[in-house]
Subunit: 181 residues, 2 copies
DNA sequence: AGGTACATGTAAGCTGTTACATGATTTT
DNA sequence: AAAATCATGTAACAGCTTACATGTACCT
């Protein structure tokens, strides 16, 4: 699942520009799968074009660079199908928040609390965004599965942090004392 | 949170070899945070040694390369504290499983079912492993928070897949028909 | 006046992955 | 007999991130 495949995937749903592909991974139906930057997307699109897997249509715009809308070609569609038939890669995560929590005993309670609260806020914002998306564009069964999956995960995280917040904060305020007494 | 910081973090808990550091991210207390490969760890350890952030003790062994056990130096401990005071990075995920599920309509039901079942099995194995770890070595409040967090996530995933499995399979077996009738 | 959204692209640098190299011991 | 565990390390390659380069239009 490299950036090229990710672009093919978005384009299989609808034609899009590089800018719009990025949005699909931020807000759209491909959120929860991964993030991708412009620095990956534009070169990937150029490579796909070179390989004949996508075609492009240019639209002139005032005061902006021309908008380049890409479409899958039939070889592009086949390349996507091939990629989908490769063995599934293991998921990759890198979670800095959990890393900090492992060293919560070295943080001051106020910083710790601020970290947890801002994470809960972020999570709740994401949850609201997904719920809104579910109403606006239903999508097919796969889309619904993925969005529901993301929703379940974010809710679990927010709830977990809320429920264990004071346990961590308590341990931080009363380092060894609580056990001894 | 680069590999160097990750190594410092493990060493702050106890002295360890490169091999043992890797295990800490596979099975040990640092699971759920990220995976790291030997190809990242050994060069990171060499760099940390060059910067005086860790020291090393060699133990001769028969039939194996010498075991090199690294320890944090006081500058290493400070470097870790500095890293912990930097702003938290956003989490990174790349989930190939969800990506496949988005295109479940292109998969045969048997392949789709096999994908979901094997994912559930993997998840249950991980859950069992964490629960065992929770009993064996309790750890401090931060450790417990992180392990509980991981546990909650894996359980949510397994449950979600189980509960929505037949919805996806059903959509795959009866493409448009079900809606029309 | 400043921030955000729109819109594309390049280049250097940093990081991580994978394959290679070597090999004994223990478990299944 | 095969696979996993123990044990370290290098080198090439692939990939991603970040900074740079450019500029308008709208909203607060």
């Amino acid at each position: 699942m490299d950036t090229k495949t990710l672009c093919l995937a978005v384009l299989s749903r609808s034609d899009a520009s590089g800018y719009e592909i990025k949005k699909a991974f931020e807000d759209g139906p491909f959120a929860h799968i991964t993030e991708v930057g412009f620095g990956s997307i534009y070169p990937a699109l150029a490579a796909l074009l070179g390989d004949g897997l996508v075609s492009v249509a240019k639209f002139e715009q005032e005061g902006r660079p021309d908008k380049k809308v890409y479409s899958l070609t039939s070889s592009g569609r086949m390349a996507l199908l091939d990629a989908l038939n490769e063995p599934t890669e293991p998921d990759k995560v890198r979670c800095d928040f959990l890393f900090r929590m492992m060293f919560s005993s070295l943080l001051t309670p106020s910083i710790l609390e601020e970290m947890m609260d801002s994470r809960i806020d972020q999570l709740n914002a994401t949850i609201a965004r997904i719920e809104q998306g579910l109403e606006e564009e239903p999508g097919d069964a796969g889309d619904a599965f993925v969005r529901g999956f993301g929703l379940a995960m974010y809710k679990t995280m927010a709830t977990y942090i809320e429920e264990h917040k004071y346990a961590l904060l308590g341990a931080s305020l009363l380092p060894d004392r609580a056990v001894a007494e």
